[in-house]
Subunit: 188 residues, 2 copies
């Protein structure tokens, strides 16, 4: 195995191709596509991070409104996902342009995206500058799931999610299950 | 499409099943498996984040040494990945237990893992408490890639990476390419 040293660029993979919704002061919703969606605190409390460059319209909207929704798309809407990452909500109504459907959230003004099977309503905890992106930390106030992805006990079935993975500028589906946390201890 | 509200737990997906290496003061290396590996700053400079609970041995080692290496595994070593996430380096030599191969890094004492096609040497910038995990920010000092995953221009070929994705407690391979950033603007 021969190694070569290469210039790093956005090196961690895979990450979600997440759709982040927010609202302008006049109530108009916007969407931005971000691969930078992180689990910062996993249970007590549940905190997610999103990293956004200062120039994005969503940076301004989330900083002003103090809330956002993270929506996880499927491969079926990869075109809408890409479109929402390559045009600006300052000029375009991204819901109209993408054909995605806003539905009201429970606790925040930013809408859920109906076509995404999982949606996280978040309250902004703070913003910190980290190199070329700003890290927004958000407490997850509520999570919503499509009934179709839940099993009889209400647990998420990964094989129903059809998630969209982002790796080095490319969108990929997931493949096959190769194990689960702890499987090497359970005798397999 | 009917939505149900569910209790959130580690909700962002997919994330890498990353192997993080560090060294003890006596030079003995350790490995921890983390799904929490983040692109915080993507180019200028390149900063990655990792989130670790305080009780993990690697938390102590990285805080003391000020450096770590992020190694991205393949599905071929899923057993080693799971093992390194379910035993403690306080009691076990994880390189010996997992069969993974340490190779010297260029700029830090923590080793690269030979079986991982991409490795990031990182210098710790700081640690901050965020809920139930602590966020370690690290500047990427050097990235190393297996020759086999690079094309003739030195670019990473995603179809050669065989990455291991982590979603809701399960390890998955990636599937098929569904597009690339900007494909909706390039006429497809």
């Amino acid at each position: 195995m021969s190694k070569r040293t290469i210039p790093p660029h956005r090196p961690a993979y895979p990450s979600p191709a997440g759709l982040i919704t927010s609202v302008a002061p006049d109530g108009k919703p916007n969407i931005v596509t971000l691969a930078e969606v992180f689990n910062l605190s996993i249970a007590r409390p549940v905190i997610v991070g999103i990293a956004i460059v200062k120039s994005r319209y969503s940076h301004e909207l989330i900083a002003a409104s103090g809330e956002f929704v993270v929506n996880f798309p499927t491969t079926r809407i990869v075109g809408a996902v890409d479109l929402c990452g390559t045009i600006s909500g300052r000029e375009v109504d991204k819901f109209a342009a993408s054909g995605l459907t806003p539905i009201p959230a429970q606790l925040v003004k930013a809408p859920l995206i109906a076509e995404c099977p999982l949606n996280l309503e978040c309250r902004l905890l703070g913003i910190e500058e980290t190199g070329d992106h700003d890290l927004f930390k958000g407490e997850v106030l509520a999570e919503h799931a499509d009934e179709e992805i839940l099993d009889e006990y209400g647990r998420i079935q990964v094989d129903k999610l059809d998630p969209l993975c982002y790796l080095f500028g490319e969108y990929w589906s997931i493949g096959v299950k190769r194990g689960w946390h702890g499987f090497t201890k359970s005798g397999e």
